[in-house]
């Protein structure tokens, strides 16, 4: 299912202009978009047949937003990518299509939207409302449009949000020809669900955020279909079927500011998610660290920000994330020049295994409407899982050991 709920979308797409044509109400709309060309290069020989070393793709997105008077606004954002190497990466999506009623005491939003929860940089534990568009960006920071009804109530220096999520969207995965996949391809057409309502199970969530003098706090709760799939690797099959369980998750986000230091903490407690060995195991996970931004590098106008985070998952070897006991350090170098050039380097090192991941990202502006960016991921030191040395390998990263990549993207904005 690549495009969500066509019937309801059509309703939203057509009702917005209709509402705007109502007389006596001042309505405005604006449109913008982006077209990009991208190439991804994998410098190592692929491990599996059919995989390719290079992919070329183009993507476009359009965004139309508007308001009717001062109390209703809405937004529609579409996205399409064509990829010449992986058909699972060729797809379209409505990332946003919502109407929102705004009132000083509350806000109600109905439709597709994206929501981000969280404070840390290297992974996003607490973030759970939307499904990750993993083929679009392997770091999980791109989301599919999530159908929702939300109620937001401002409180003093904070906000309370309630979410009703009537429809679940499966995670996207690279196809058989795509890189960055498991040794067996994922059977995306036949996901397994714990609940008989499958993707129509109604999920609920709530979050309260509050700012204090030097601190921000957020508490959240989610109950429903887990966004992260579990996998039954022991099942005899030529594909791996993703399994979406019913989960309960409590989340905590905290930040504290002291001068140029920003301390961050994210933690979750989740119940109902089968672990890597497909056994039920409630678990806690924590990401905590700091960001340090001393402005003006060596007396120049360039800035260097440093981050360090520790990542922990109580399931250890049985975690579904490769970051079960890892340390991440990185830096962001902002040149503050006319081209807004910047470079980000991140190194995530497993504490008791050899596994490590390097990420390098950079970008420059080319005038007001164009930008060039590159992203490189190196997944190194992934020893083969072995009975004799079980601690030395990371099962989840091992399958990706030959998938180091460089990605170049040229974008035009209008």
């Amino acid at each position: 299912m690549n495009v969500a709920k066509p019937k309801k979308l059509a309703f939203l797409v057509f009702i917005l202009p209709l509402l705007m044509s109502v007389n006596n109400v001042q309505a405005d709309a604006q449109g913008e978009g982006e077209i990009s060309l991208q190439t991804r290069l994998f410098n190592q020989t692929p491990q599996y047949d059919d995989q390719e070393n290079q992919s070329r793709s183009f993507a476009m997105s359009f965004n139309v937003s508007g308001n009717i008077g001062t109390s209703i606004d809405g937004e529609i954002e579409t996205f399409y990518r064509y990829d010449d190497a992986d058909w699972e990466r060729t797809k379209g999506d409505f990332r946003k299509a919502y109407l929102r009623w705004i009132n000083p005491r509350y806000e109600v939003l109905v439709g597709l939207n994206r929501v981000f929860w969280g404070v840390t940089e290297t992974n996003h534990l607490v973030d759970i409302i939307g499904q990750s568009d993993l083929v679009e960006s392997p770091d999980g920071e791109t989301k599919l449009g999530q159908p929702m009804v939300t109620l937001a109530i401002p409180i003093e220096n904070g906000l309370v949000d309630f979410y009703l999520l009537p429809y679940f969207r499966e995670q996207t995965f690279p196809g058989k020809e795509g890189r960055l996949r498991f040794s067996l391809p994922i059977g995306q057409d036949k996901p397994l669900y714990e609940n008989d309502d499958e993707e129509k199970h109604i999920d609920v969530a709530a979050r309260i955020t509050k700012s204090f003098d030097n601190a921000d706090l957020a508490l959240s709760y989610f109950q429903g279909t887990g966004r992260d799939p579990s996998y039954d690797f022991s099942a005899e099959s030529s594909v791996i079927l993703p399994y979406y369980p019913q989960i309960k998750q409590f989340g905590l986000e905290a930040q504290y500011i002291k001068d140029q230091w920003l301390f961050k903490l994210e933690s979750i407690y989740r119940d109902g998610q089968p672990n890597l060995f497909f056994e039920d195991e409630a678990y806690q996970a924590v990401t905590a660290g700091f960001e340090y931004t001393p402005y003006g590098l060596a007396g120049s106008s360039q800035d260097l920000g440093l981050i360090a985070e520790v990542l922990y998952d109580s399931r250890g070897q049985a975690a579904l994330s490769p970051y079960e006991e890892d340390i991440a350090i990185g830096g962001r170098w902002v040149l503050n020049n006319l081209q807004s050039a910047e470079l980000v380097i991140l190194w995530i090192q497993d504490v008791d295994r050899f596994a490590r991941v390097f990420v390098v990202e950079g970008s420059i502006e080319m005038g007001e409407s164009m930008a060039l960016s590159f992203e490189s991921t190196i997944i190194s030191h992934q020893p083969q899982p072995s009975v004799l040395r079980p601690l030395e390998s990371d099962r989840l990263l091992y399958d990706l050991r030959d998938d180091d990549s460089v990605q170049l993207t040229l974008s035009y904005y209008f």
Binding site: E291, N336, L338, E365, E368, S369
Partner: protein
Amino acid sequence: MLSFFALPVYSDSSVEKGRAIFEEMDVRESGFGDFSTKQTMILRSKSGQESRRQMENYVLEGIGSAGDKTLVIFRSPKRVRGTALLTHSQQAKDDDQWLYLPILGRVKRISGASKAGAFLGSEFSYEDLAPLELDDYDYRFLGEEKVDGVAFYKIERIPRNVDSGYSRQVVWVHQQYYRFEKVVFYDRKETLLKEVVFKDYKRYLDKYWRPHTINMVNKSDGKSTDLLIEEYKFRTGLNEESFTQASLRRIK
């Protein structure tokens, strides 16, 4: 009119007089309520290369001891359009600041101690663009100066915050209208760093003077930034709710 005089040492009277002039500016500024503008920044390198940044600026006056609240929404370069910076300025301490990243839908708290950092690669630093809070500085009256027949007060002000990029600034204030004419900035090593000139003033609501061109020149590396400001719109109905983290999610 007082005649020009310079004082070699910090006397109580020069401190009082310096602060009194800024207090008068503060009084004349009070009551504006809120305003918004559209601005274009033109960044120039030493060799004359140019780059433009466009933004919208919204300001809400703080009542009583509360600081002003400002919201800057970036419109170009288009890659960062919709990115917004929300600042709740605080008297004599670090401001509270949040950055909204529209592509992720994320509101990110940032360190208000970043005063000395360059704003979007321009010659303006964050503190140059922050609302004026009286208690952010200590003052010293230096004297009076006439330029092209116009009389100015010349005042030195010393940032109280250790995170400031400046050891001191010298400010030229228009004697009749109590508005900024020129500021010269000295860095922590006491070298002349930058000079900013305010031009094309217009009076709004018969009371509030606002510049429409601000030229900042970096004296150490020859780079410069022009800030061109369109018509100011006063009292457009902005309120506290327009400057919350929740309001950031409504930015288009």
